[in-house]
Each structure stands twice: as structure tokens, then as C-alpha cells.
């Protein structure tokens, strides 16, 4: 079971800030998770259609989308950060 967090317009498109998900075994990387989430409904399709617009963190560390999910328990998906 993975805790997935969404921020900014990703959160708005999905319609929730957080959910618990058990992706299929074929999903082993962040990019594969994004691809799978895109098939989970209309809002998901909108949020995850273009992985180039997304960034990710595994257990609160920034990662590129090609990394394996490994034993991560918390995955966050969001647009590029704009603080400061």
C-alpha cells in the first residue's frame, strides 16, 4: 500500500490531496505509477497526461521519474516547485 500525495494543480485535477493506493505489480517506477494513475479516471487523465510537467518525491526526497519505487511508503506528485 502506497500513500500518494498530490500538490498544486495536480491535487486540483485529481480532486483530492492524498490517497492510499495499491498499484498493480507491473508498476515498479515513479513513471510507471504516473502512467497507471493516468488511466484511473478523468481527473487523473488530466493530471498525469504529460509526465514532463510533473516532479516527484519518494519518502520526502526529490527523485526523477525514472527511479524505482522500491520500498517507498510515501510518493508525492506535483508540478515544478515555485517557492521563494
Amino acid at each position: 500500500m502506497l500513500t500518494i500525495l498530490y500538490f498544486a494543480w495536480v491535487r486540483e485535477a485529481v480532486g483530492k490531496a492524498q490517497e492510499e493506493i495499491a498499484p498493480p505489480p507491473s508498476v515498479t517506477t515513479v513513471a510507471e505509477l504516473v502512467g497507471w494513475l493516468a488511466t484511473q479516471g478523468e481527473g487523473y487523465a488530466e493530471a498525469f497526461a504529460d509526465p514532463g510537467r510533473l516532479r516527484a518525491a519518494l519518502d520526502q526526497e526529490f527523485v526523477s521519474l525514472d527511479v524505482p519505487l522500491g520500498s517507498a511508503r510515501e510518493v508525492a506528485l506535483f508540478p515544478p516547485v515555485t517557492g521563494g
Binding site: A8, A57, Q60, P79, V81, G84
Partner: protein, 147 residues
């Protein structure tokens, strides 16, 4: 001494400055980011990844303290709604040497823009849009990689 705060409350720059001065060193450098009123923006809203923001800001301050001779470093970042002219972020560094204070301050604000999970949304009256990341922020952060 490192102080990091992610807060809804307005920045109290005088208080942050006084606290940095208590380190008793030769100088303080600081940067304050303000809400810009460009393009009819009326309100800015800041969203964060709670938990991760504080850790990332603390890590940046620790990295700055390893790289430069600092007596103290402070990062305060606001979240929630803000009005035009309000402070969004305060970065302050105290050191016996001005070059260390100035460079560490520039490092912290440059890296904060790419390394801390905050997202800005601009309101123009009743309409809002998420602010897009800018390539110049990436290059400003990267210049510290090669030094």
C-alpha cells in the same frame, strides 16, 4: 545557530534581524522576497508539502553553514494567502566576514527556489493561476554546483 520556520504568520523582519545580531558577529546579510503586484495580482497563495519543507530548509541551512563561516542562519517562509507587498520569505545569515554572510545568503535564496516544495498561486480578483517554474531559477540554483 540555525532557525527555520514555515508559518502562516507575517514575517517579523526586525525580530529575525535582532535574533541574528545576538550571535555577536561582524555582520548580517539578508534577503526578503515580497509579493509582487504585477499583472493585476491581488493575492498570492502559497502551498507547501508539510514536513518536507522544514526538512529541506534545515538541510539547506546546514549546507550553507558547512560551506561558509556562519554564526547563524535563519530561513522563514510563509504559507497561505498573502497581500501584495507582504513578505513571502526571509533569509538571513550572520558572520564575522561579509563575504561569507553575503554569499551564504545568496546561496540560500537561490537553492530554496528549486529545493523546497512550495507552490505559488496568483489571484487576480476572483481568478487564479498556478505560477510556472522559471528556467532562470534553475540556472541560479545550479551556479552553486560548480563553485
Amino acid at each position: 545557530m540555525i532557525r527555520v520556520s514555515v508559518q502562516e504568520a507575517p514575517l517579523d523582519i526586525a525580530a529575525e534581524h535582532r535574533a541574528l545580531a545576538q550571535s555577536g558577529v561582524g555582520g548580517i546579510a539578508s534577503f526578503t522576497g515580497l509579493v509582487r503586484g504585477d499583472d493585476g495580482v491581488t493575492t498570492l497563495e502559497l502551498e507547501q508539502y508539510p514536513g518536507m519543507t522544514g526538512r529541506m530548509l534545515t538541510r539547506l541551512a546546514e549546507q550553507a553553514a558547512e560551506r561558509w563561516s556562519l554564526a547563524a542562519a535563519t530561513i522563514v517562509h510563509r504559507v497561505g494567502p498573502m497581500a501584495v507587498g507582504d513578505g513571502i520569505v526571509f533569509v538571513g545569515t550572520a558572520s564575522a566576514h561579509r563575504a561569507d554572510a553575503l554569499e551564504a545568503c545568496a546561496y540560500l535564496i537561490d537553492r530554496l527556489k528549486t529545493d523546497a516544495p512550495f507552490w505559488k498561486r496568483e489571484w487576480q480578483g476572483g481568478e487564479s493561476r498556478w505560477v510556472e517554474a522559471r528556467a532562470c531559477d534553475d540556472s541560479a540554483a545550479e551556479r552553486w554546483d560548480t563553485k
